[in-house]
């Protein structure tokens, strides 16, 4: 579904991605693991067209997106839940939820989203999105992209800074949306969490993919993984 070949990206003078190669099959949940600064978030942004300069190939459903503007990439059916959630403080919760335009039929209805995240419904009247707790913000950030009908979701560290109980809920959500046929690319530092949701794991180091570990082999690869991640 998503095919990335020799992806390079730069911020100003600094060359962040040095030829990233990986792919995500339809219906899969795939994670990008790696240390801080390895280039995971930059990879996400590069897929979305959010870096100042990128080269290589990002093919989505067979269409090359490398020269496209972010809004066109979004219309093609990729949605991002960014690092630190990207909740808009000047928008109410409902406005945040309704913000991303519908790009295709088949998205979740607002009611379905509320069923998925009951907390959100209670907080729907909250004036400012940033008044929500971290967990609620994360739910909102995921919920709003489920509405758009995009089938490919990029989730950037959805568990960051969250309490274990919330992390569990996020995990359930990801499995749920996988069951509904969504494809997910997940950036995680928390590989134990990743292990509970993902089919495959790519490991990044210095702007490159250095390894791919299928989830079933994860237990056997623990030593390798500790080495990669420095934990």
């Amino acid at each position: 579904m998503l095919e990335i070949k020799d992806l390079n990206a730069w911020y100003g003078e600094s060359h962040i991605l040095h030829g990233v190669d990986f792919n995500v099959q339809e219906g899969e949940v795939v994670t990008l693991l790696g240390r801080n600064g390895a280039g995971k978030t930059t990879t996400m942004k590069s897929i979305m067209g959010l870096v100042p300069r990128r080269e290589g190939h990002v093919t989505f459903k067979g269409v090359e997106t490398i020269g496209m503007m972010p809004n066109h990439i979004a219309k093609a059916g990729i949605a991002i839940c960014p690092e630190e959630r990207g909740i808009f403080g000047s928008l109410s919760v409902t406005e945040n939820l309704m913000l991303p335009p519908i790009v295709a039929p088949g998205g979740l209805s607002v009611d379905e989203i509320y069923t998925l995240f009951p907390n959100l419904k209670e907080r729907a009247r909250t004036a400012h999105g940033t008044r929500l707790s971290g967990g609620e913000q994360q739910m909102l950030a995921i919920g709003r992209i489920l509405r758009t009908g995009a089938k490919m979701l990029l989730l950037d560290e959805p568990t960051e800074g969250l309490a274990p109980v919330i992390v569990q809920q996020i995990g359930r959500t990801i499995r749920e949306i996988k069951n509904r046929g969504f494809t997910v690319l997940l950036v995680e530092q928390n590989f134990r969490f990743a292990a509970t949701v993902a089919d495959r794991h790519y490991v990044m180091e210095h702007g490159k993919i250095v390894d791919m570990i299928p989830n079933k082999d994860l237990e056997n690869s623990m030593d390798k993984l500790h080495e990669y991640l420095g934990v």
Binding site: L50, G89, L99
Partner: protein, 295 residues
């Protein structure tokens, strides 16, 4: 007669009312400026010049095409707004990644060009533009003689300000705008055509200025310098209100009009300077302005 601070009460009420009328212009101009700043991160120094263009376009419509005041009130903002869109597309869009200063300098240059061209073409002693027949005359309010047209200005300005505020605060388009002000790349990544949104915002802000220009045309003569006279004060309004704050610019616009009106009674020479005094005080005590968000 009631005396307040040694000034006859009726006179003081009159001054407050007049302050409000001027405040209406400040509010409309600073509103556009605030919207543009919030969205484009550009301090649009050319705002005064485009305000002036609004008045000139109304004058041209009347004198060259025979289109009167009320149609001009719609047409002139559209025409000048379209000009703004062209400006944004061709010139201003090149500056988004640079420091504020460059936007300020570029639009400053732009205003010099626009004003110079009109001064060359139409001189600077001003062209007459008559109050439309329907709004001529005045009402005696007891404490002052209130021209109907001035009343219309306050009304029109208040409606336009409220409408703009409502669009930004209460509609989906407005929500998208606010979101794009916070984090434009993310909004674009959701599939919104942010560059077009930015262009339209600039056009809209300019149209607001032009609308104010048409409103001003019958009061002040249509003059190439009419924008320059306003622009410094309007900047002060935006800074005091909190840069980019919609509500801040509306409230501060009206409030400063009143402050200025009162100064005209007590120390008229300083009425042009008082806004700067207020601005310095505000900047030193509340760095982000009255309604600005903390950094």
């Amino acid at each position: 007669m009631i005396m307040i601070f040694g000034i006859p009460g009726p006179l003081l009420f009159g001054q407050l009312l007049l302050g409000l009328i001027n405040g209406a212009f400040y509010a409309m101009l600073s509103l556009g400026l605030a919207v543009i700043f919030g969205m484009l991160n550009i301090i649009n120094f050319a705002h005064g010049a485009l305000f002036m263009m609004g008045a000139f376009v109304a004058w041209m419509l009347l004198n060259y095409v025979g289109i009167g005041y009320f149609p001009a009130l719609i047409l002139a903002p559209l025409i000048v707004g379209a000009f703004g869109i062209v400006l944004e597309k061709t010139i201003i869009s090149r500056l988004y990644k640079l420091d504020h200063l460059y936007g300020l300098l570029l639009t400053f240059g732009l205003s010099l060009v626009i004003e110079g061209l009109f001064r060359n073409g139409y001189g600077s002693s001003g062209l007459p533009y008559r109050i439309p027949a329907a709004l001529q005359g005045a009402v005696d309010l007891g404490f002052m003689f209130m021209p109907i047209y001035r009343g219309w200005v306050v009304l029109a300005a208040a409606v336009v300000c409220l409408a703009t505020w409502a669009v930004i605060e209460k509609t989906t388009l407005g929500a998208t705008l606010r979101a794009a002000t916070e984090n434009a790349p993310l909004v674009q990544a959701f599939g919104v055509n942010v560059p077009r949104l930015i262009t339209l915002t600039y056009g809209g802000g300019i149209a607001l200025a032009a609308f104010a220009g048409v409103l001003a045309a019958p009061i002040y003569s249509v003059n190439p310098n009419m924008g320059t006279n306003f622009i410094n004060t309007v900047f002060a309004v935006v800074v005091i209100g909190g840069m980019g704050s919609i509500l801040g610019s509306i409230v501060t616009g009206f409030a400063l009009g009143v402050v200025e009106g009162l100064t005209k009674v007590f120390y008229p020479q300083a009425s042009a300077t008082v806004v700067f005094v207020v601005m310095v005080i505000i900047l030193l005590t509340r760095p982000r302005g009255l309604f600005g968000k903390a950094a």
